[in-house]
């Protein structure tokens, strides 16, 4: 056994050595970093390597954007790795990426790198998804699956706080007259994210805004919280949007939350909410735009803004921006700096890029906010000089 293991080890070792000996030879051909300062009018295809990482919330749209941009500017070879907001923030501070993605705002990072700039890119909605069976059977005796559900802000917070634990609770029944007498006397299984995530941060910020009791007992909202339903015994944590979706789909009488794009592309029924203005709204590009419009003037000078629980009549209440983080002064390679700016401008202004995002269920920035972001982009400098267009 030991001998066998040793033999395998040796084979692996030699294999590794051969591979590592080969690798530099392959990479040596196209050297990207040779043109440091000179901005040439035409760059060789794929000669500018841009690396980015961070939030997974916007990953579906970023994936399409980064691939599409190679047709817009063939000289750029851009990769965006979905490593999570925290990892993205760390990477931009460490300087290992050209820009980063994040759903959560920066705090102490400004102390280390003073010129970090948040740029809102898109708004995303988080929606409550559910798996609910009517107690009434249809004509042929089959189980009827409920597809439409309306909740209000307080009820949603109470469900997640385990104050409402049964589906036939009067608070839910009164909001859904069409389901009168059909809601089961079953415990609500509350599914939440187990991994720390921007989706959770948006959702818990919204719950804290919906319910004073949630704010007092659980906190103002963060990427990881202690879920009251867990203690009550009806909570389940799952990893990632897919994990939450699977847990909800395999558990009858459960509720969970995922981002809208994910619920849409997997055809999972999601609830409508009664917003702050008392109107029943459905998460879609229009209600997202309305929510962004409520907070046009809420930005600080770093362009951070919380946009949950807007007061507009058509506003979806569980909404958050996803940001890109760039360095406004300390980018070292001016060719890269220019390409980063060009890429971000393209994603924000190009009609095709916008269509890609809205088709996936993300909200595009209203003009007033877009102008603020473009203004910020125009102030970016490299080695003291403005970036030429």
């Amino acid at each position: 056994m030991l001998k066998k293991l040793l033999n395998i080890g040796l084979v692996v070792l030699t294999g590794g050595l051969i591979l590592s000996a080969c690798a530099p030879a392959e990479k040596a051909v196209p050297s990207a970093s040779t043109q440091e300062t000179l901005v040439e009018p035409t760059l060789a295809p794929g000669s500018v390597q841009l690396i980015a990482q961070g939030a997974t919330f916007p990953l579906p749209v970023y994936d399409v954007w980064t691939k599409s941009f190679q047709f817009v500017d063939p000289s750029v070879n851009l990769t965006y790795a979905g490593t999570g907001s925290g990892a993205g923030k760390k990477a931009i501070v460490d300087g290992t990426v050209d820009f980063a993605g994040s759903d959560s705002v920066l705090k102490d990072e400004y102390k280390t790198v003073a010129d970090l700039q948040m740029l809102p890119m898109l708004a995303g909605a988080v929606v409550p998804i559910f798996n609910l069976q009517s107690i009434e059977k249809d004509a042929s005796g089959n189980v009827v699956i409920i597809k439409e559900l309306v909740l209000d802000r307080q009820t949603l917070a109470d469900i997640y706080q385990a104050k409402i634990t049964k589906w036939n609770d009067p608070a839910i029944a009164i909001l859904n007259p069409t389901l009168n007498g059909k809601l089961p006397d079953a415990t609500i299984t509350v599914v939440h994210r187990a991994d720390s995530s921007g989706t959770t941060e948006i959702f818990t910020k919204a719950l804290a805004s919906f319910s004073a009791d949630w704010l007092a007992k659980v906190g103002p909202g963060a990427s990881t919280v202690q879920w009251p339903a867990d203690k009550n015994g009806n909570g389940i944590g799952s990893k990632g949007n897919p994990g939450v979706a699977v847990a909800v789909q395999t558990t009858t009488n459960s509720i969970g939350y995922v981002e809208l794009a994910y619920a849409k592309s997997n055809s999972i029924p999601f609830a409508q909410l009664i917003n702050k203005a008392g109107k029943t709204v459905k998460a879609d590009p229009a209600s997202l735009a309305s929510a962004m419009g409520d907070f046009t003037n809420a930005f600080d000078d770093r362009l951070n803004a919380t946009i949950v629980d807007g007061s507009g009549a058509g506003s979806w209440p569980i909404t958050g921006y996803t940001y890109l983080i760039v360095r406004t002064q300390s980018m070292k390679d001016c060719v890269k700096a220019q390409k980063v700016v060009e890429y971000i401008k393209w994603t924000l202004t190009d009609a095709r890029a916008g269509k890609i995002a809205s088709d996936l269920g993300y909200g595009l920035l209203p003009q007033a906010i877009l102008d603020k972001v473009i203004d910020k982009l125009n102030t970016i400098t490299c080695k003291g000089a403005a970036i030429s267009k």
């Binding site: 959560s104 187990a194 991994d195 389940i236 990893k239």
Partner: protein
């Protein structure tokens, strides 16, 4: 002038080098020593890092962090964090896995080494080794979609209806199990499936390494096959089997991905196997990438330190067992 020349340090060094490298033995020994000491260095540096980086969490959270209270808190937002639910989750899932996997794996290895017809031995061994090579995320996915709803949930319902009614066992088998099957029991069962190939493959090699003379002597004394296996082979291979079990237990304690996918990741306050739980490894995997505060990340590092110590302790206990049984065997 000439004499001086012979004894110049350079020449001396040159001769010394050519002497010691003449047969390649010393460089070879040195190389091996270097490679082996890397392992020691690695363990020391991991230990140091975990200890050093968890310092602020240890001072701020104190011994209260380790209070054996299942109904504990883990609230990174207000800094109220306790480790016990995760320690319990890790220990209980590894224990379930080990209790189920150990007899099955020993059965498999005895069958493969002693009783299996020649034509079946190689395909079966190959399959078992293949099972050990399946990435854990695949076990997780299969668990969520097939194993949990089809197998674990029915088993859980039966357990809740039988053992859950006995007052002594009630805390451990109180139901109901979630319909999706996400529970400590599910994690334990998945882990059992994952560690069976490890224990079985290593124990099979242990049995195969036992000299033929042992079996022949036993048969010559008139022992049946059962007696030979039970009274000769198992005692002879006991230290090897224990070694195999340590490997399996180690995997069960540290397994992250598959467990995270099936355990339910809930801070549920009961001790029941049929309820969702949490393990130390899955907590770290879930939360370390994006922490709420510095105290939060330090507390997670302290959890890693605890996991490290628990693994180390269990390994030491197992080593002592091996040492004792092999000594007993030599005496008897």
């Amino acid at each position: 002038m000439e004499i001086k020349d012979i004894f110049t340090p350079q020449k001396d060094l040159h001769r010394w080098i050519s002497k010691v490298t003449q047969h390649g033995d010393r460089p070879w020994n040195f190389l091996l020593l270097f490679v082996s000491s890397l392992v020691i260095l690695l363990i020391i540096s991991i230990c140091f890092l975990l200890w050093h980086d968890s310092a602020s969490a240890r001072t701020q959270l104190g011994w209260n962090f380790l209070t054996p209270l299942l109904d504990a808190n883990w609230n990174p937002q207000n800094g109220n964090m306790q480790a016990w639910p995760f320690i319990y989750g890790t220990l209980i899932t590894a224990l379930i896995a080990f209790i189920i996997a150990f007899p099955i794996s020993i059965g498999i290895s005895i069958f493969l080494a002693e009783l299996c017809p020649e034509w079946l031995r190689y395909p079966l061994s190959w399959m078992i080794e293949l099972l050990a090579a399946i990435p854990s995320v695949i076990y997780g996915i299969w668990g969520i979609f097939v194993f949990l709803p089809q197998v674990v949930t029915p088993i859980g319902n039966v357990l809740a209806g039988t053992l859950g009614k006995i007052s002594l066992l009630q805390p451990f088998f109180i139901g109901p199990i979630p319909e999706s099957g996400l529970s400590r029991l599910a994690a334990g069962l998945i882990l059992a499936i994952m560690i069976i190939p490890t224990i079985a493959a290593v124990s099979r090699d242990v049995f195969l390494a036992i000299p033929k003379a042992q079996r022949e002597a036993s048969f010559a004394l008139g022992a049946t096959q059962w007696e030979t296996i039970w009274k000769v082979l198992i005692p002879y291979g006991s230290s090897g089997i224990l070694g195999a079990s340590i490997l399996g237990l180690g995997r069960a304690l540290g397994e992250t991905m598959a467990v995270t996918m099936v355990i339910g990741n809930s801070l549920e306050g009961s001790a029941s196997l049929l309820r969702p739980g949490y393990t130390m490894a899955s907590l770290i995997a879930n939360q370390f990438q994006d922490t709420v505060s510095i105290l939060h990340s330090d507390a997670l590092i302290e959890i890693a330190l605890i996991l490290f110590v628990v693994t180390l302790l269990l390994n030491t206990i197992a080593r002592l067992l091996v040492w004792q049984t092999s000594r007993k065997f030599l005496k008897g």
